[in-house]
């Protein structure tokens, strides 16, 4: 089935490049370890054979559209990626009409293992509720109709701990943070010209790498994605020191669902929950 995807993607890519619909096709190609896929930017129909699709195609390619400066571009999107696409369209960072979306009904991708083929599905895929791209110009594969209900066991486990335990837990986690900002670079929702963490005036986060500053960074990173995170979980995948960022994202995902009955990136004109309101809603604040 994956080889089938590969073939379809190559054909579509060739067609799009040849008839000039797009200038570039963003897809996946096999990486240097000969196993794991990496992003591929195909400008020449002759190169389309590089394109592949298999269960190592983890990257959220939508992020790269931000750099295409409005050039007509085709992009391969999985279910979660498509939510990111909706998000960026809603936030006016992309124009739908110069993007050709090759949607792939995603069977789930496996964990990253250098030089070795892993067969362990990524956490996000185990919990995935959006296998079928929400937005596409061509859809590869059979749409998945039955999606599982939300599962926040991991969050619940965390909440079972005492306040002190949680504090200690995160203390320990963020102490490892080297502030490389890979999480931010990989995140489709992070596209600020001048990220708050690198602003010197106001200095929201001290430049020094210290637990407090690290905690500030990781907290605000998560909060800036509250009601926006599409659960592609690239941030956690790319973290070199394995900070469980998904816990923060998913906690907020759950709260947003409970409080505002909202799932980010489900449509291209959705209004994020923090920039709208209901007059008579009860949120347990000031009541």
């Amino acid at each position: 089935m994956e080889t089938e995807y590969t073939k379809q993607i190559r054909d579509k890519a060739r067609e799009l490049l040849e008839n000039g619909t797009v200038e570039c096709v963003i897809g996946y190609e096999t990486g240097t370890d000969g196993i794991n896929a990496r992003p591929a930017f195909i400008y020449d129909p002759a190169d389309v054979e590089r394109l592949v699709f298999d269960n190592t195609c983890s990257h959220n390619l939508v992020k790269y559209l931000l750099n295409m400066k409005g050039k007509p571009t085709a992009v391969v999107v999985k279910g979660c990626d498509s939510r990111a696409l909706n998000l960026l369209l809603a936030e006016k960072q992309l124009q739908r009409d110069n993007i050709y979306v090759i949607g792939v009904v995603c069977p789930g991708v496996v964990e990253w293992g250098w030089n070795k083929q892993s067969d362990k599905l990524q956490k996000r895929c185990v919990l995935c509720r959006q296998h079928t791209p929400l937005i596409h110009d061509i859809l590869l594969g059979e749409p998945v109709t039955e999606e599982p209900p939300p599962d926040f066991t991991d969050v619940a486990e965390m909440e079972a701990m005492s306040s002190e335990e949680r504090a200690a837990f995160w203390q320990e986690q963020v102490e490892r943070c080297i502030r490389c900002y890979a999480c931010r670079q990989a995140c489709p929702g992070c596209y600020c010209i001048d990220c708050f963490v690198e602003q010197l005036d106001p200095e929201w986060v001290g430049i020094r790498i210290a637990p407090g500053e690290n905690l500030m960074w990781n907290t605000i990173r998560a909060f800036h994605l509250a009601g926006r995170c599409v659960a592609c979980n690239e941030c956690e995948r790319v973290c070199p020191v394995n900070i469980p960022l998904s816990l923060l994202n998913r906690k907020l995902e759950q709260e947003v669902l409970d409080l505002f009955d909202y799932r980010p990136g489900m449509s291209e004109d959705a209004i994020a929950p923090l920039i709208t309101f209901k007059k008579d809603e009860k949120l347990g604040i000031g009541e």
Partner: protein, 136 residues
């Protein structure tokens, strides 16, 4: 502010209702513990969640945000937004080990001086019980 005289509480008060409410507490001489330090903002909706997190990161024991009652916002809608922001933020902070109780959001109108002092008194009491935090 010295930690020796109990919890360090930072209060963000909207200029139109709650700050006026605090003034009312003053003009009516309704006393409350002196731990709170008040920062005046135009609207509770001006209070950026980032600065709340900053307060805790830097070692504040507790933070109070007070704004107009829903429907009474001087800017019509400000407190509706802050209500959403802080509902989420409280959860996130709690999740990260900063107890919900340390971050309170209250609606205090310009005429509720008594209520303001009651809120601050209760808050200070609770925080004394909880004990102080360390900056991280």
């Amino acid at each position: 502010m010295s930690a020796d005289n109990g919890p360090r509480i930072i209060g963000f008060l909207c200029n139109w209702c709650s700050y006026a409410g605090a003034d009312m507490a003053g003009t009516s001489r309704i006393s409350y513990p002196s731990n709170i330090r008040i920062i005046r903002v135009p609207c509770s909706g001006r209070v950026d969640p980032m600065i709340i997190v900053k307060c805790f990161q830097e070692g504040a024991d507790a933070v109070l945000v007070a704004g107009c009652h829903p429907g009474d916002c001087h800017y019509n809608e400000g407190n509706y937004y802050s209500r959403r922001h802080f509902a989420l933020l409280r959860e996130l902070l709690d999740f990260m080990g900063i107890d919900k109780e340390r971050f309170r959001v209250e609606w205090v109108s310009a005429s509720e001086g008594k209520r303001f002092s009651q809120i601050v008194s209760r808050f200070t009491e609770d925080m004394k019980k909880m004990g102080s935090r360390e900056a991280v």
